[in-house]
Symmetry: C2
Subunit: 452 residues, 2 copies
Amino acid sequence: MVSVFDLTQEAFLDLIHQKDTEQLSYLAQEMQAVDFAEFLEDVGIVESVYVFKVIPNDRMSIIFSYLSLDKQKILMQTFSGGQIENLLAHAQFDDIVDFLNEMPNDIVLRVLKHATYEQRHELNILLSYHPDTAGALLTTEYIELLEDDTVKSALAKVRVQGQSAASINTCFVVNNTNRLLGTVRLKEIMVSNEEVLIADLMETDVVSVNTKDDQEEVVQAFVRYDLATIPVVNDQYNLVGIITADDALDVIKEEATEDILRMASVVPVEGSYLNTSVFNMFKSRIPWLLVLMISASFTGHIISKNETLLLILPTLYSFIPMLMDTAGNAGSQASAMVIRGIVVDDLNIKDYFKVLFKEMQSSLLTGFVLFAVNTLRIAIFMPSVAWQMALVVSFTVYATIILANLVGGSLPLLALVFKVDPASMSGPVVTTVVDALALIVYFAVAAMYLGI
Amino acid sequence: MVSVFDLTQEAFLDLIHQKDTEQLSYLAQEMQAVDFAEFLEDVGIVESVYVFKVIPNDRMSIIFSYLSLDKQKILMQTFSGGQIENLLAHAQFDDIVDFLNEMPNDIVLRVLKHATYEQRHELNILLSYHPDTAGALLTTEYIELLEDDTVKSALAKVRVQGQSAASINTCFVVNNTNRLLGTVRLKEIMVSNEEVLIADLMETDVVSVNTKDDQEEVVQAFVRYDLATIPVVNDQYNLVGIITADDALDVIKEEATEDILRMASVVPVEGSYLNTSVFNMFKSRIPWLLVLMISASFTGHIISKNETLLLILPTLYSFIPMLMDTAGNAGSQASAMVIRGIVVDDLNIKDYFKVLFKEMQSSLLTGFVLFAVNTLRIAIFMPSVAWQMALVVSFTVYATIILANLVGGSLPLLALVFKVDPASMSGPVVTTVVDALALIVYFAVAAMYLGI
């Protein structure tokens, strides 16, 4: 990606030290806000305060919205009442709400104190939505038309409301009780005759979400219907705001990467790796590690209970790590494919038997290849092992693959039934379960072979 | 999400069997295309062909674009020349290209044969872009203005080009050699005086991508700059198309879920779980299973080499599964957090020592808790185990956690250096490595304890 300003951190700092307000204002105006914020992120607090004093008022709030929470918090404490008023006057309210949601109470109260009556009213509504719902993502800046508007009156409204609207591709049509009736594309309006009624242009099969819908549902609607914006309604189907695709992008990035953590049995943490405190890192990892350590001890009991077998045939030991690892890997593979299916193509419990059948077929094939390779490997590289023993191990591998694929394929779907995140039914959890199964099969087969 | 049509699959099929062309046309027109396509997906081929004959021409291509590749392929073989011409006349060309990229040669040639000269020219350009690049994502339907356009002439262009444009929020400004100069928001144009020049309204710090940029870079630009559209230029910085946020959403969903598979050592496969053939499933899983099975055998050797120890102290056995599982889990957790860091906040090899230091601190804390819990657990529930033995196990747990976190944190970053996807350095791979380390530590500590 290309942005036209070539500026180094040093040059940026020089501008501040030379108090070149003109150039700083120019850059704040012309550069992408996120790029300007990135330079600002790494300068000291005194310098940052200075920059916020000299840059244009209308750029201040957008640049502020791209700073880290820590920086925002420190800066906010230095802002004068006038600066806060400026910030509110030019801000996107969803950005302000994101920020306030993370701030301590004294900062929230200070901001609300400097808000106008209307701003405070709107902020209070937005703050009342639960984070991670459609309500928390919406912006109230959109173009609203009435069904009995004509093209002429609609265009007049677009000129006014369009100034602050997050998107003007689509206009939203409501009746006089604010109930959402449909949508009209601005391009339809622009080429229609002045007297045509909006009611005659609008499309009525509108995809919308409720303020209380989870943000994951919002993303699904965007992906399924290839939307650029989606209207948000309350329980009375009144239009309260819209969500734009770029917000959906942020959510999808956040959610998809949360799955990465859940799949490794880490309790999701927000924020970047390097900014996460050691203690938060510890907190996010220790719960599952403890649970799984205790669970794995039961696998140990399986070994203890079969000590006689192991004393008769000590070679049995040396295959245990391979069996456990292979079981865990096969289980993780199956669960990952099913988790992806749930995320990408709405796989659900109704498909349970189809999934089982598919995993069964796939495991028969995979297991066969591993059976063959393992038998050959032992025959060639471990000539001291009896061929019957090699068959015991290979047969266990085969059976383990089947069990691991069935368990790995089942757990994420069963998680859905119990309203648990399917992504947490993967890697470590699946491994712990199938390791135990692998050893049970191993000792059962070995016992049969030894005739006890 | 809410869509207003309540229609069952049976009712849809009834409409076809009753040859209710009027109602089918109405639904094809008014329903969301993806919903209509979903109903169509599950009806037989004869019925599908019939539906495509009766629905309006302008809806045919968008509904077609939402069908599965299999269905598209079968239908395309039944289409008359006239139907193909209709499809091309109303299609988004990026959809057509997505489809042609997956089709056998005879179908591609047949479609190209029925294209007009201009359509063929454009399709050939789009087909020449490498899949997974910005070129393959772009659409050529956007609003293009010249720098010396006035607001009046610009609005006239918007009315014409806006009809087919993918987005009209932003207009793209070029000079007469088609070099990208800047962007103007339509809302700025709409409120400006008729004689104002576009050059005076446009913003010049434009974020753009090159046709050859990887689709992952495109997504990063969308996320970083909160864009709704991004212009795509060639090496001469000529504007060749735009990409819209909904396409970026599809890419991000695809890429993020590929990581889910890689993290479980599955070679990524495209398409839905249920549509993936058993053989493709087998192919995507067997390579890593084989590699890891062979690697895990080395862990077995560690046990074989320590048989003397195990004969002296058989209790050592029963802790092996717990040690292996805990090592694997701790390693997976660390690698998942680092992988997420790489995906979300550009963690890279320069941060290597910071990551190691952080993992070290976190592992000291985590290891300590596991040390304590494990010692207590053995003391309370396994009174037959000597306290020295309990300490051997607990100390091994502690050391293992440290090693596993360091290895798990390192591998994804090292993968970057060797141009390997970091996501594949996770779960199973990390587990296999740290399992071996855990056993080496275990036997070393046990040997010290036994004084051999």
